[in-house]
């Protein structure tokens, strides 16, 4: 009998321990009325603006920190901590006048010195930031980066509230650079206090403060009541980390999320539903979805082969079936809504016969074999599987190769893959963002020109456009450049994605913006949650 007791005890113990663990970890949902319930599909990589290089973390950084200027709902750039600015006649010098009395959430006032510190921090290798390029056009930045100077000579503090930035040469989109996450201002004392853990203890001067962060579960933000432009209408934001779209849908339907992005597999179910119709918003993203072609690697250095690839794929049908309504067919690199996009230009039509003809002319009457590289992602697999089938139709045997992000980039930088699937999201709303990095030959590889496109005429035009400050002239140049590259089929042009979101009826002033980091959620509001 005694033995029996012992064994039962040990069994009971396991059971009890598990039950305890079960309930010990239980937690309730925040039921406060004025808390916005939102979600992210992955834990943010960082909340340190210098390290932020993805849209997810950029969006959060914009809530916690402020910069000199910020993006509006569209392409406009609005004053933020800088009340106003003057641009010199030669367009090389920007003088910013800061709002006095703006405070970090630790109570200290923001000065021009903080901006100098924050910008130099991004350039400093010790910070391990990869966003140095944002400030590289500033005078003296290259010398500082190489360790040849103590500070960046082109960033001058004239007094506590005046900052002067001098550029090497005139650069039209520069103001947009200053609205990027890397240009947000951070307090030196907090960065030094926390070191590499600053991301866990972010201190900025934005409208929201980080209250709690349970990694891979949720983040809580609280309104900064001392925000210079007034406290946000809501008292808090609860970001839940929900990786699976099916769960997002379930939680939204249960009223536990205030909005969600409509999953492509359920597009019709939502868009056709009269109950939700009034609460659906859509927004075209400033993003290219494309398959880059290695323009230097035979046989793809032949324009005819590249054009054949474009004619061979029925992009319209792929969009209609796999991504119903969720994008606009690409007719160039610059997305609609940006200066330089050309509504007149026609996208490549689906014309398999033309594709076969072009291949034959180029010397490949029996087709050819190629590799298309991509990241690990089921969504991308789905798209490329369709592309693969269309290419097979004209005799192109495409093999799809999945690699992780690092390996994919390395291979592309070395020019190994014949083609690769990639997206390009705007960092700042200017056509230049879609031409200089992606097609200028100095940017081969990591700079963004992964297609290894090279056309000296285009190079010269891009350089001219960057220096041109007149919008109308710049637009002409942008259109010409984009048109030439499109004609030469540097990529297989797919589409500009459009996202559809649906929100709960109780949400007010819920908006979608052109730039991912434009929203500070100041006037978002909730009326009687259902």
């Amino acid at each position: 009998m005694k033995e029996n007791l012992g064994s039962w005890l040990s069994y009971g113990l396991i059971f009890t321990v598990s039950i305890l663990i079960w309930f010990g970890c239980g937690g309730g949902r925040n039921q406060e009325a004025k808390v916005y319930h939102t979600y992210l599909s992955a834990d943010p990589t960082t909340l340190d603006p210098a390290l932020s290089n993805d849209a997810g973390s950029g969006e959060l950084c914009a809530l916690l920190y402020d910069g000199l200027v910020r993006f509006g709902a569209g392409t406009e750039i609005l004053p933020d901590i800088a009340e106003s600015w003057d641009i010199s006649a030669d367009s090389k010098t920007y003088t910013f006048h800061l709002r006095p009395g703006v405070r970090f959430t630790n109570g200290r006032e923001v000065t021009a010195w903080d901006f100098k510190y924050s910008f130099e921090r991004v350039l400093n290798p010790k910070s391990k930031s990869s966003r140095g390029w944002v400030f590289q056009d500033i005078l003296g930045a290259v010398a500082f980066l190489a360790g040849k100077a103590e500070g960046v000579s082109g960033i001058q503090v004239l007094d506590e509230v005046t900052l002067r930035i001098s550029l090497v040469e005139p650069f039209a989109p520069f103001l947009g650079f200053l609205a990027m996450p890397a240009a947000l201002v951070v307090p030196l004392e907090e960065v030094e206090r926390w070191g590499e853990d600053f991301s866990e203890h972010p201190v900025g001067c934005g409208p929201w403060k980080l209250e709690g962060w349970v990694h891979d579960d949720h983040l809580q933000l609280r309104a900064n009541e001392d925000y210079f432009a007034g406290s946000p209408k809501l008292s808090g934001i609860l970001y839940r980390i929900i990786p699976e779209t099916m769960t997002v849908t379930a939680e939204f339907e249960a009223g536990n999320l205030d909005w969600m992005s409509i999953p492509s597999a359920e597009f019709d179910r939502w868009v056709e539903n009269p109950k939700w119709k009034p609460y659906i918003l859509s927004q075209l993203k400033l993003q290219d979805t494309y398959i880059g072609i290695n323009n230097q690697k035979p046989p793809f250095n032949d324009i005819r082969v590249r054009q054949a690839l474009n004619y061979a794929v029925d992009v319209a049908t792929i969009m209609k079936t796999i991504r119903p309504g969720r994008g606009i067919r690409a007719n160039g690199a610059i997305p609609p809504g940006l200066l330089g996009s050309d509504p007149q230009r026609k996208a490549y039509p689906y014309d398999p016969n033309r594709a076969r003809q072009l291949l034959a002319q180029a010397g490949y009457p029996d087709g050819l074999s190629m590799e298309i590289w991509k990241m690990q992602s089921p969504e991308v697999t789905r798209i490329l599987e369709a592309v693969q089938a269309y290419l097979a139709d004209v005799g192109i045997r495409a093999e799809i190769i999945s690699r992780d992000w690092g390996m994919l980039k390395q291979a592309i930088n070395r020019g190994e893959p014949d083609a690769y699937y990639m997206t390009w999201l705007a960092d700042y709303p200017d056509g230049e963002n879609f031409l200089f990095p992606t097609f200028h030959s100095v940017n081969w590889g990591g700079g963004g020109n992964r297609a290894r496109y090279k056309n000296e005429q285009v190079d010269a035009l891009i350089e001219r456009a960057r220096r041109t400050l007149d919008d109308a002239q710049r637009e002409q140049l942008y259109r010409k450049i984009d048109g030439t590259v499109f004609e030469e089929a540097a990529w297989i042009y797919l589409w500009y994605p459009k996202i559809f979101v649906v929100h709960q009826p109780w949400l007010r002033n819920f908006r979608q913006n052109l730039m991912f980091n434009a929203d500070k959620l100041l006037d978002l509001d909730i009326v009687e949650r259902g």
Binding site: A265, E266, Q376, P378, Q388, A389, A392, S402
Partner: protein, 300 residues
């Protein structure tokens, strides 16, 4: 000692079996035939091989043919298992999937067994430092989380069917190596062998005539049981996206693509999963039966 090692110790002391011939093998086959469950397993396995070999003849549609107008059709008379998000016939793809699973299973098992036998024989035969090294290596292999190891290898190398069976084979050699080592040790210490050696019979001949016949049974059992595990591993990796690459109709990747349509088109997910279940079941049952039939002492 874990029961696993206990099992092997019992082998070490086992008398060498008779040479390959009519007697014991016929006896084993008789035992296997009497085991109805094992015969069911054998039937499933044979059917699968047939399906794998004749997929081209049996499939009503081309498994690669995309038909975007007929995507996500529910199961019907014309599409037994429905169609996937590219309008491809899931029934045809499932049939072709059998071929891929069997290929990966057989090749990876061959790799694992060759590696395991080679290292095990080396360790057992030469002993000493080499033995120590190889045995520590098997410990390391056991301590490694196997699936993560596989994911690591396939993610690092180019994901493809070749990478897949090499990786699965490479990860699975350790148990076989231990088993072979034990066999070699047992054979080496046997009086019979010592006598043979004293008479001047060469090493090669000893291995051929005494060691291999002794090991044949465990190798066959391990092959069949390992097939189930290898097929499961293939499915898991393809599910994660690191296995067979599109448009290869691997069951694992079919389930992975069906995941997003779980709500609107569950059939995309359901049928390939059933196919995996049936296959793995077949090999498990056959393996169990073979173990009982070939080696009554190993019965758990």
């Amino acid at each position: 000692m874990s029961p696993e090692t206990k099992m092997k110790t019992s082998q070490e002391t086992k008398e060498p079996q008779e040479r390959l011939g009519g007697g014991p093998w016929y006896e084993a086959w008789r035992r296997l035939r009497r085991n109805r469950i094992a015969m069911f397993g054998l039937g499933v396995v044979l059917c699968l091989m047939l399906v794998g070999a004749l997929a081209g003849l049996m499939a009503p549609y081309d498994p690669y043919q995309i038909d975007l107008e007929n995507r996500l059709l529910p199961p019907s008379r014309s599409h037994l298992f429905g169609t996937d998000d590219f309008g491809r016939d899931i029934f045809s793809r499932t049939l072709y999937g059998a071929r891929i699973s069997l290929e990966v299973g057989i090749l990876s098992r061959s790799v694992a067994l060759s590696l395991g036998i080679l290292l095990g024989v080396l360790a057992g035969y030469f002993g000493g430092k080499l033995d120590q090294l190889i045995m520590r290596l098997t410990d390391v292999m056991f301590a490694f989380p196997a699936l993560l190891f596989l994911i690591g290898i396939t993610a690092a190398l180019k994901p493809s069917l070749t990478t897949l069976f090499l990786a699965i084979g490479f990860v699975g050699w350790a148990p076989m190596a231990r088993l072979m080592r034990a066999q070699v040790l047992a054979t080496k210490e046997n009086d019979y062998i010592t006598a043979a050696r004293a008479v001047g019979i060469g090493t090669g001949r000893i291995i051929r005539r005494h060691l291999f016949p002794n090991c044949l049974a465990p190798v066959i059992i391990s092959f069949s049981m390992g097939m189930a595990a290898a097929i499961m591993a293939e499915a898991s990796l393809s599910f994660i996206g690191l296995g067979a690459q599109p448009p290869t109709p691997s069951w694992g990747s079919m389930i992975s693509l069906g995941r997003e349509y779980l709500r609107s088109a569950p059939w995309v997910t359901v049928y390939p999963g059933l196919a995996i279940g049936l296959t793995v079941l077949g090999f498990n049952l056959l393996g169990d039966g073979l173990r009982d039939a070939l080696d009554p002492k190993m019965k758990v």
